[in-house]
């Protein structure tokens, strides 16, 4: 509750600050300080200190899971601001408005992670989506940005329509929007099943699971790279938390009906994401497909739906956000997004290359990084269901495929000669990257540092 209201207030504040303050560095400082404030407020909320006492019963429920995820999300946005907010200046002239849109998106993420009513789920998804359409099209003169924005908008609105139809049908079957009262009977009617499938489709669309992934590479490729970093990480895992909550609380009793559907979607997502990423020529597009592939792994949590799955999803979201934000922040500094542009980066910028290698190893799931522990938890959760062992084997095989395209970047940096020309890299940027890499290794050795927060 603390973070939700403060984030809305800060969003409005940033909007007005563009009128009052003309300096860009001032706007950036306010945004970073605001995010720090949100992080502190959210951690206080976890400790039981509430700034606001508002009765949200039946609409929202701020449990441990949601609050811990919100902390991860706010911390990731803080790191993202520190690393990349300077590069937002190049996108367009509306600098502090971009920050305010990101604060509003954070509101949406908090709504989606802590909803108790389908109304809040719908509002949260829309509060996430509408600012994202704007951020995608932020480069007004760039045709690729325009195209990505229009495509995202049309397909996003279409999937919202499907979601609304699903909600309406479920309402017809149960006469309530409250997620915990939705399934009362073991034998659901046709309205309930159709509504659930429509919700499954629209949620898989939002998290870009196959076969609803087709918008992802185009939109991620066309959007300004700074904002791709944001939408491919924090937004995506935020919607995943909503996904797992919806299917846990509302449709938990119908698990036999939907589990095989989710298993098939997971397998398709892993396959398409990993295989297509192998053939990409641009690192940005490769990261877009890699985000589909990582979504496939996170879908294993929705498929398994047990206590390990929830822990694993928290760890996975931290691992994925930290590593991908780091990679994108380096990618933004490059003038050219092909693999060849990274040739010889290790000689010119050894610290950046080393940290980038750690991020890529974490995404590939190599031991001693948090990516390995995250994948381990996911596979453990999937094995604990005791069914569909082929899915686990397939996921391991696909993780092996993913090593290929992540290592292509490492190979280009360390074993090829070339003249990379990244833009100005400041020492503070380098040290933030080192801290980020240290965090990834630390969590990879002691994942309980994060997971203990879930219980205490």
């Amino acid at each position: 509750m603390n973070a939700l209201l403060l984030s809305a207030i800060l969003g409005v504040m940033m909007m007005f600050s563009s009128v009052l303050i003309s300096q860009k560095s001032a706007a950036r400082t306010i945004a970073i300080a605001g995010m720090l404030l949100l992080l502190i407020a959210n951690i206080m909320d976890m400790q039981g200190i509430h700034f606001f006492r508002i009765n949200t019963e039946g609409m929202m429920h701020f449990d441990r899971f949601a609050l811990l995820f919100n902390s991860i999300a706010i911390f990731s946005i803080l790191l993202y601001f520190i690393l990349s907010s300077k590069d937002m200046e190049k996108v367009g002239g509306y600098y502090s408005e971009y920050f305010s849109l990101i604060f509003f998106i954070l509101c949406g993420i908090i709504l989606v992670t802590s909803f108790k009513s389908l109304l809040i789920l719908f509002l949260g998804i829309e509060i996430i989506s509408i600012p994202l359409y704007i951020l995608t099209g932020a480069e007004k003169k760039n045709l690729r940005s325009n195209e990505a924005s229009l495509k995202y908008f049309l397909l996003g609105a279409f999937s919202t329509g499907l979601m609304l139809m699903g909600i309406a049908l479920i309402y017809g079957a149960t006469a309530t929007f409250n997620t915990t009262q939705l399934t009362v009977s073991e034998k659901p009617g046709v309205l309930m099943i159709t509504g659930m499938i429509l919700l499954l489709f629209s949620m898989s669309f939002k998290v870009s699971a196959a076969p609803f992934h087709f918008w992802t590479p185009d939109v991620y490729d066309g959007a300004p790279t700074v904002f791709t970093a944001f939408m491919a990480t924090i937004v995506k895992v935020g919607v995943f938390i909503g996904f797992i909550r919806l299917f846990d609380e509302s449709f938990g009793m119908l698990k036999p009906q939907w589990q095989i559907w989710v298993a098939l979607i997971t397998a398709a997502t892993l396959f398409i994401g990993n295989i297509t990423a192998v053939f990409q020529q641009s690192v940005k597009r490769m990261l877009a497909y890699s985000s589909i592939a990582q979504a496939g792994f996170m879908l294993l949590a929705v498929y398994a739906m047990n206590s390990e799955a929830k822990e694993g999803l928290l760890l996975y979201s931290a691992a994925y956000c930290l590593a991908t934000i780091g990679i994108f922040s380096v990618l933004i500094k490059m003038t050219d997004y092909t693999f060849d542009a990274f040739n010889g980066l290790a000689k010119k910028e050894p610290i950046v290359a080393a940290t980038l290698a750690i991020f890529l190893l974490s995404l590939a799931g190599i031991p001693l990084t948090v990516g390995f522990m995250a994948k381990f938890y996911m596979l453990e959760a999937a094995i604990a269901t005791g069914k569909h062992l082929w899915l686990v084997i397939f996921a391991v095989l696909m993780a092996a495929v993913s090593v290929y395209y992540y290592f292509r970047v490492i190979q280009a940096m360390y074993f090829k000669d070339g003249q990379p020309n990244p833009m100005q890299i400041s020492p503070s940027f380098k040290w933030t990257l080192v801290v980020l890499a240290g965090l990834i290794v630390l969590l990879g050795i002691f994942p309980n540092l994060l997971l203990n927060w879930f219980y205490f």
């Binding site: 099209g137 049309l154 279409f158 329509g161 909600i167 309406a168 049908l169 017809g172």
Partner: protein
């Protein structure tokens, strides 16, 4: 009037919307079809709301606000749809300024 008629009408409107989105090439018309889908959902929610209300009354319930949440949901959909229209039309105008067309067949530059 039985609720079935409303359900069939709104499912028909929804399907017209989906077919329109999938077959038309003009961004504005696709957008109108999406709005048609939203409004089909609104109609369905109101119909269900009345159905649950009547069922509660027939069952002897004294609580007469059963089903009102469905109608409240409709207001939220209207507000969100309006917000989406304002952003969406701005995006379409931005596209039109650059390529002087709102045909979505233009949207193929990102494929490669």
């Amino acid at each position: 009037m039985p609720v079935n008629y409303y359900i069939f009408l709104s499912i028909a409107l929804f399907c017209i919307g989906i077919v329109g989105v999938l077959t038309r090439r003009n961004a504005i018309i696709i957008f109108m079809c999406i709005e048609l889908m939203f409004n089909a959902v609104n109609l369905l929610l109101v119909a269900f709301s009345k159905m649950h209300h009547k069922a509660a009354i027939d069952a002897g319930s004294v609580a007469t606000n059963v089903g009102s949440d469905g109608q409240i949901f409709v207001f939220f959909i209207m507000v969100v749809a309006a917000a989406e229209v304002s952003v969406g039309l701005a995006i379409i105008v931005m596209m039109y300024r650059n390529v002087h067309s709102v045909d979505v067949n233009f949207l193929n530059r990102l494929k490669h």
